[in-house]
Subunit: 208 residues, 2 copies
């Protein structure tokens, strides 16, 4: 009989309370473009769905401020020394945001390792990788790759100036998690963002 950790018990509690709410956990290295992507994509959906964002960072309210500036509600968690959000952080944020939502977006602390191991009650982890990071990253950080459902390759506008093979990257990632759904985007040109919006909408409708 498996003994649940404190976090797993809290995540199970959240999952129960968020039954009608689509919950997506956005994870990536620092600076891959999570906030930029959310800034652009959530405006495409906010008039149709009630959306709130939980922002996790060691320090500052920069990311929650950026989200709020688009007209979407956000709550900033500052983790201090901690390198990942835990279910209890999400619960605290929801105490302020409320549970009466269609879609809850969690932007985790920038970290390609530890957030893979902490369930936040999400329906899916959306992993971002920037083309500037190198195409072997899915293999070098396989725990995160395996935990993902969607995989977004971002900053494709920079492809001419970097050594990155989209095909190689996808191959590495599929080798670890064959079920991944792939997207390629640029928050600069807007390319591919509509497909990400469609994915999020699909996940939102699925929870209704």
């Amino acid at each position: 009989e498996k003994i649940l950790t404190k976090n797993e018990m809290k995540a199970a509690e959240l999952r129960e309370k968020l039954k009608g709410v689509a919950v997506l956990n956005f994870v990536s290295s620092p600076g891959s473009g999570k906030t930029s992507l959310l800034e652009k994509v959530l405006v495409m959906l906010k008039d149709k769905y009630k959306i709130a964002v939980v922002e996790g960072d060691q320090q500052t309210t920069h990311d929650a401020d950026r989200i709020k500036a688009t007209g979407v509600e956000a709550f900033q968690v500052n983790t201090g020394n901690a390198c990942h959000l835990e279910a209890i952080d999400v619960e605290r944020a929801l105490g302020s945001l409320g549970y009466d939502l269609d879609l809850l977006i969690i932007e985790n602390v920038g970290n390609l390792v530890c957030p893979a191991e902490y369930d936040l009650g999400e329906d899916a982890k959306v992993v971002l990788l920037s083309v500037t990071e190198g195409d072997d990253k899915p293999a070098k950080y396989p725990v995160m790759t395996r935990a993902g459902s969607a995989y977004i390759i971002n900053k494709i506008d920079l492809l001419p100036y970097v050594d990155f093979s989209v095909d190689k990257c996808i191959e590495y990632a599929k080798g670890i998690q064959p079920e991944l759904e792939f997207f390629t985007t640029s928050c600069r040109t807007g390319e591919g963002l509509d497909k990400v919006a469609d994915y999020i909408e699909k996940m939102t409708k699925a929870k209704k």
Copy 2:
């Protein structure tokens, strides 16, 4: 009276054994360019100094292979689930590399958070940040900024295509760690790499 952790005791042991050896701990997010920088800079120094590299990654030997291809000795540690190297990993690597060195380089697991808290017996942490990550990263990940001695802003060849102010980044970083020594580099064009080599040489001579 302070009680030392297991890691702190092992780090103190290492520091003792590495008295004549300069030890530098290279830290950054995944893909900021640690391995690329070491590939280029260590060739400038390897004919003058006896150098070895400890490579830390969750999985694969890609980075140790890249270092070895330049003619510099390297030992790959695979941490599995762990998101940072610990002193005991460095000790195990030195069991293979030997202690008879002028310079020991440690390339930590790509992670801007956890490696800040684990002493590996180094003389200094060298923090890398890529211009593609965003100029507010020193403030958003302040524990790592504060732990640094040198701060290398890399991939400056990409400045025309990204939203990054070098001045703003330095200002944020100095606000947290006034003692930081700054460098700007491109592993693509080679700009600034000689200054990093000079810094490493200075640190190596200082330990003799």
